[in-house]
């Protein structure tokens, strides 16, 4: 925890964020360019899905991000409630809209891939329904952080929701094993190694890394905004107090 508290000083955090941001932006751009090139121009059509497999290169990384960001939200909420780290609530509040965005992308691209693959846009099976629940959890978190005049109370309520809702993450991951679903099983993160061909795995991993560094960039920007918003609130209060 001592290491974590090194970043507790908002001014120090802003200095680090400003130093990291240009690099994370550059890495995101390079990964996106190479990932998109391989995904759209230099990878084969699938023997079952045909050209529609190209949707996988945005759908799967978005799905991984939606779960990873929720896990980040869970950890940040725990740190905020247990150790009262001053930046943890701000980090959770900053991350939730990004997670909601990736979950929305997962749902829409999944639907667009489902129609040619399964013959339907949507089915109420375990995987799809649990991802929809994840999207609502993100919306609930965003709503709760904005629901109170006192941001501390809103952040606390949202943190409790994030912790309770974390039970949904393993349900999403293992839904394809626990229940009979239309959605295919895991083909990358498996005990016996990836079953996907290298020509498809490389663009998939590049796009996943690109989405991860994108998340880092946008998160750093949003946490700085949150820090500024807290400073503004404190200044306004001191002004009102005369």
């Amino acid at each position: 925890m001592a290491d974590l508290h090194k970043f507790a000083n908002p001014n120090r955090f802003v200095r680090i964020a400003r130093a990291v941001l240009p690099w994370s932006n550059i890495v995101t751009a390079l990964l996106l360019i190479s990932g998109l090139y391989l995904a759209l121009f230099n990878s084969p059509a699938d023997y079952q899905h045909g050209q529609s497999v190209r949707i996988m290169y945005v759908h799967v990384p978005s799905a991984w991000m939606s779960m990873s960001i929720y896990s980040f939200l869970f950890v940040a909420s725990l740190v905020a409630l247990i150790w009262r780290h001053p930046l943890a609530h701000l980090a959770a509040r900053a991350a939730a809209p990004i997670g909601a965005g990736f979950t929305l992308v997962t749902l829409v691209t999944g639907s667009l891939w489902g129609k040619p693959g399964w013959g339907t846009w949507w089915v109420w099976d375990a995987r799809l329904t649990s991802v929809l629940v994840l999207f609502f959890l993100y919306l609930g978190h965003i709503a709760l952080t904005h629901a109170h005049d006192n941001p501390e109370r809103g952040a606390k309520a949202a943190a409790i929701l994030a912790i309770v809702g974390f039970v949904n993450v393993p349900i999403i991951k293992y839904s394809v094993d626990w229940w009979n679903t239309l959605h295919q099983g895991a083909s990358v993160i498996r005990a016996d190694g990836p079953s996907i061909d290298g020509s498809m795995l490389t663009p998939l991993l590049l796009m996943s890394l690109a989405f991860t560094t994108y998340f880092v960039s946008v998160l750093l920007i949003r946490i700085q905004s949150e820090i500024n918003a807290r400073k503004i609130q404190a200044l306004q209060l001191s002004q009102a107090a005369g």
Binding site: L40, I55, P97, L112, I221, S225, A229, I232, L235, Q236
Partner: protein, 77 residues
């Protein structure tokens, strides 16, 4: 040109593939623009508020130490 059209058609899957990449671009660019705009807005507000609050604090401090008139003169210049 014909090769480009054939590529864009994606063997008949274009109607599913391009909207998928479109929604990704829309959401990711939208989130980034919204976040940068938010940061700029809070910075602007902070730049406006900070000097005003600082000036008031200095004036109050000066008044309590008896340098009120001097500070008032300085700030009017």
């Amino acid at each position: 040109m014909e090769a480009l059209i054939t590529y864009l058609e994606m063997d008949g899957y274009a109607v599913y593939i391009w909207p998928s990449y479109g929604i990704v671009a829309l959401v990711l660019i939208g989130l980034a623009v919204w976040s940068v705009a938010g940061l700029r807005a809070t910075k602007r507000q902070l730049d406006l508020l900070q000097p005003a609050v600082e000036a008031r604090r200095r004036a109050r401090h000066a008044a309590s130490t008896g340098d009120g008139e001097k500070i008032a003169e300085e700030s009017s210049q």
